[in-house]
């Protein structure tokens, strides 16, 4: 019987059977400031060094300010946390991308754009959105801080093998519909815990047609369906993205690598534990109405009826059962995050913002995913489009996706957001989050209301 992509990646990284678990080799570890202070303590307390420092790459993203960086970091806790990461990396010989470097950005944007993320690798990070890197056909998953310490000391983790789920998107997306809508439609279809225990492989015509940016958006959000691992088989799109990036194999090595990467796709006779088929051509722009990422409807739909909807979530969100989503007034917009902070996302938002103005009473932030994304956007003039329209153009970081820095929303604020979680308090205590695509968020900024992007397309 053939093997799935997940099984091939797993088999290639088995170090030893470990009782009823398996010891898996970890090729790459990304570090950020929030989940690693305690990991380095594990190393110190256990007298461990970092086994393979060159397999680690660190960058601050969660708590970094996204404006006025030249003046330093105002919040003393954030300043100390970022300084601690830098000191820890220096002490243990780990490369750290400094805050004032153009390479700084969100770990899940930086890893791929540097070629640190490659097909066929195992990649971990103390962050649940590490599934993003699975877009390259890498086995990538989020871990806790203690596990980060174990990885640095041993380059291994003891894991139990996941079940496999294939999600096939048949047909092509309609105009105005993006990878974010595919992700929200998938989560809606299986539920917030629907993929627990499964490695999810995305396949089908609409997935093959996605750029690497879109594939990363799709894999990024599998954790919102309970899965730690999203996967897409590497193909010509993947190789074209990876080629020439500075940490990727070069020259003849690149050719050899591609030959190996081509073998990773799931075999035709591979059997998945679960198969789901979604008609991509029927997906409309999706938007969340509640406090879980599976509480979503097409933008032209209505919130479910009382009894079907989660009343506690509706109360928190200040919405009612059977209310239409279209035309719901918002006062904040956030465009960015490891889900939608890449160049293609900013282009999509800018195409809507171009020549228009942010509605009165709306505060709209655009936060590029990395310094390189920011530079590229500025080279294309996207920053001017946003600023002229009344958006704030910020420095790279997680910002309002996690609200750990000084970008926080007040209680009762209602935000059209391109991030990944609409949890209670995620963008600030008492703040309300509606997840959607970058074009949809830009449209909401312009009209001040949830707006069907298909009515604004030019």
């Amino acid at each position: 019987m053939g093997r799935t992509l997940y099984e091939k990646l797993w088999d290639a990284h088995v170090v030893a059977e470990d009782g009823d678990n398996t010891l898996i080799y970890i090729d790459r570890h990304l570090l950020h400031e929030v989940s690693t202070p305690q990991s380095f303590e594990i190393l110190r307390q256990g007298g461990h060094g970092v086994r393979r420092p060159e397999r680690q790459l660190a960058v601050a993203d969660h708590s970094v300010p996204t404006q006025d960086r030249a003046q330093g970091i105002a919040d003393p806790q954030a300043r100390d946390q970022i300084a601690l990461l830098e000191r820890n990396c220096a002490e243990f010989g780990i490369e750290y991308l400094a805050l004032d470097s153009a390479d700084q950005g969100i770990v899940h944007v930086v890893g791929p754009e540097q070629g640190f993320t490659l097909p066929g690798l195992t990649i971990v990070c103390g962050d649940s959105h590490t599934s993003t890197h699975g877009a390259f056909g890498a086995l990538a998953f989020g871990i806790g801080a203690s596990e980060c310490g174990t990885v640095m000391a041993t380059q291994c983790l003891s894991q139990s093998k996941a079940k496999t789920m294939r999600v096939t998107f048949e047909g092509r997306l309609a105009a105005g519909v993006s990878a974010k809508d595919m992700a929200l439609a998938f989560i809606n279809a299986v539920g917030a815990a629907g993929a627990v225990g499964h490695a999810v492989e995305f396949a089908g015509e609409a997935v093959s047609a996605l750029s690497m940016e879109g594939r990363m958006t799709l894999c990024n959000m599998v954790i919102e369906a309970g899965s730690r691992t999203g996967l897409i088989a590497p193909d010509a799109t993947t190789f074209a993205y990876v080629e020439g990036r500075e940490r990727a194999p070069q020259g003849a090595d690149f050719g050899k690598a591609c030959a190996y990467w081509r073998t990773l796709a799931s075999d035709a006779d591979a059997v998945f534990d679960r198969e789901i088929v979604i008609d991509a051509s029927a997906i409309a722009p999706f938007i969340t109405y509640g406090t879980r990422p599976d509480q979503s409807v097409p933008v032209d739909g209505r919130i479910p009826a009382s009894g079907e909807a989660d009343d506690k979530a509706l109360r928190y969100m200040g919405v009612s059962a059977e209310q239409p989503m279209d035309a719901l007034a918002i006062d904040h917009v956030f465009i960015g995050s490891c889900t939608n902070g890449r160049i293609e996302d900013l282009r999509a938002a800018a195409s809507i913002a171009h020549g228009r103005k942010v509605a009165e009473g709306v505060r709209a932030l655009v936060v590029p995913g990395s310094g390189r994304v920011k530079q590229q956007a500025e080279a294309e003039g996207l920053d001017r489009i946003f600023v002229d329209a009344g958006f704030e153009w910020r420095e790279p970081g997680c910002s309002l996706c996690v609200a750990m820095n000084n970008d926080r929303l007040p209680a009762g604020a209602r935000c059209a957001s391109t991030s990944n979680r609409n949890f209670e308090g995620r963008q600030g205590a008492g703040a309300r989050t509606h997840l959607m695509s970058p074009a949809m968020a830009a449209a909401a900024a312009i009209t001040g209301r949830i707006t069907d992007i298909r009515s604004m397309a030019r």
């Binding site: 010891l23 708590s63 917030a192």
Partner: protein, 190 residues
């Protein structure tokens, strides 16, 4: 972190589904770089709600929780905070996967039981239960013993208070060396 088992104590109940780690430990407290003393921040945006059902006073070492407990963010702070106010076992129909592993790394036993069994245990709010990890059994007065599954690796680690990093170094050093040699021979781009 070692916890004495069997563990006997009163039950606390938080039966809401999909309690994510943002609810357990709001992000603004992630700026703290220590893992001790975090219990005071647990459920910060919920604990003052009139209907918040869980006493946060170290009096309830066994928590009975709703499905998909600890979903979302990988923040281990959520587990450190629960541990800090005395929780040593959590019984739920299902868990967020990263949260589950984080529990096993920090002396909290995650116990998966069917929804109806969890619901029956939730009716015992404040009553005393015993989690016998040796026998993989939950017992209590007037309760037929309830068997649960946990991987042998997690069970051993929790029972013995083993440090996972030390364990891997001690048991698998040679195999890791051998794996790295094989990998070096095979893949130049690594």
């Amino acid at each position: 972190m070692s916890t004495p088992f069997p563990l006997t104590g009163p039950v606390g109940v938080l039966l809401e589904q999909d309690v994510d780690t943002d609810i357990i430990y709001p992000a603004r407290f992630l700026l703290l770089t220590d893992k001790h003393g975090l219990g005071q921040y647990a459920f910060s945006d919920r604990r003052n709600d009139g209907d918040f059902p869980l006493p946060l006073d170290a009096s309830r070492p066994i928590l009975v929780a709703g499905a998909n407990f600890g979903c979302g963010s990988s923040r281990e702070h959520a587990v450190w905070a629960l541990h800090d106010f005395g929780i040593r076992a959590i019984i739920a129909p299902s868990f967020g996967e990263i949260f589950y592993t984080n529990c096993t790394r920090n002396g909290i036993v995650p116990i998966c039981l069917p929804q109806d069994v969890v619901a029956a245990l939730a009716a015992r709010d404040g009553e005393t239960l015993t989690v016998d990890l040796e026998a993989c059994r939950v017992t209590g007065e007037g309760l037929d013993p309830i068997e649960f599954d946990i991987s042998a690796g997690h069970r051993e680690a929790l029972l013995n208070g083993w440090d996972e990093t030390d364990r891997i170094v001690a048991l698998y050093g040679e195999q890791i060396d051998a794996y790295e040699r094989r990998q070096q021979a095979g893949g130049l781009w690594l």
